[in-house]
Symmetry: C2
Subunit: 238 residues, 2 copies
């Protein structure tokens, strides 16, 4: 049995806060757990929340924003984006510095600590996960999650934007199926599945910024979430 425990009761997070200490106190971690932390919690303590005041949108940002978006937010999206992959009106699907392809390059105003503020993805979520893991002091795996939309399917789902301690991709290639036939191509992104599972308790409202997943036997590994981006030679869609 796998259990998903919400982590509640965290204080409002500020830049420089010791998130590991806060989570250690709130989460009741045990060796073998997976701690899934919402990206926004990590970004807040890392100072990756920005004020829109004083942001000067470039002409392109004004044009993209049109009548229904804030050109200052679009300006921040353009600063965060390595490239724009698709656009429909003010909806920008962009590739981030990490290689993730997602709406608004991961920039979001929800759950920001003030009306005129926006939260960006951590600079290096895999490094953030590794630092958290080291500071937690238990043998836990850490996943930093966000919610991304997907091509072809409506709605967002939890995905791993950072991870540490566990192998995010589990290959079954060559292993036998139920009838002994070896799998030809099956690689499962378990870090994304853990992030999606955790999102069932984390939700978008911000009140539950983390979850503990207990009973999932993760495989130790040193690969980050950024390493699981589709490489260009296998990318058929961007």
């Amino acid at each position: 049995v796998i259990e998903i425990h919400p982590v509640r009761g965290l204080p409002a997070l500020r830049p420089g806060d010791d998130l590991a200490a806060i989570l250690r106190a709130a989460a009741g971690l045990r060796d073998g757990d997976v701690l899934v932390v919402a990206q926004k919690a990590v970004s807040k303590v890392e100072g990756r929340e920005v004020s829109l005041a004083g942001v000067e949108p470039r002409p392109e940002a004004v044009e993209i924003a049109g009548a229904d978006a804030d050109p200052r937010v679009v300006e921040i999206v353009l600063r965060e984006a390595r490239r724009i992959v698709r656009r429909r009106g003010s909806l920008v699907i962009a590739e981030t510095r990490h290689g993730f392809i997602c709406a608004a390059a991961g920039v979001d105003r929800s759950n920001a600590s003030g009306a005129d503020r926006a939260i960006l993805l951590p600079e290096d979520p895999d490094a953030s996960a590794a630092r958290l893991r080291a500071a937690l002091g238990s043998d836990v795996a850490v996943v930093i999650s966000d919610s991304f939309g997907r091509p072809f399917r409506q709605g967002i789902t939890g995905v791993a934007v950072g991870c540490a301690g566990l192998e995010p991709l589990i290959s079954h290639i060559g292993l036998p199926d139920d009838r002994g036939r070896p799998f030809e191509a099956t690689v499962v992104h378990v870090a994304d599945e853990l992030a999606a599972a955790a999102d069932l308790v984390i939700g978008p409202s911000g009140g539950v910024p983390a979850a503990v997943i207990r009973g999932y036997r993760w495989q130790p590994g040193a690969v980050g979430a950024a390493d699981t981006v589709m490489p260009p030679e296998r990318d058929l869609f961007s």
Copy 2:
């Protein structure tokens, strides 16, 4: 707390088997649970496993198969596909009759009941889920899951190809975030998140064909998984 229980000990499934009775006996369902069933279990009892013997590949199937795929499997993929969305060598990303965009139109040889056989998606997985739900006799939601690859990210994750009883898409638009600011665009595909969570215990090997998710408060609804496909006017990628 949400619990994910693997459902084990099912017999080998054959066309015409009473899957609801088999699952009812094995799963220990309680009102409020979500029962996630692997698509292959449903397809097997619905006779959606086919023999490759006697399949005559059309010239296009032979050409696509090339040296590294079985042209008979490609022929079946072409029969299942409404259209080919992308192709790289023998890898075909196709739109299925249901509107899903996935590798090989959902056709897979893994866990088939013989070497020269392949499993297709159910004809109408939402109807399959509704029939299962009605026959289970408890107030459970049913999700039929498969594992799909995704653009931009390596690896496959569990997704809902069918559902019944629950609302697959939960909209937070207009609801307040942590600071009272209304969400502008947040809709969560919880059926996909439930399928991904269940996949942590179902896995690809076939030995665990279903999972019970307990403690997740799903919202009753009558929308199917096929209804959650991205509509053409919002599809930026296919």
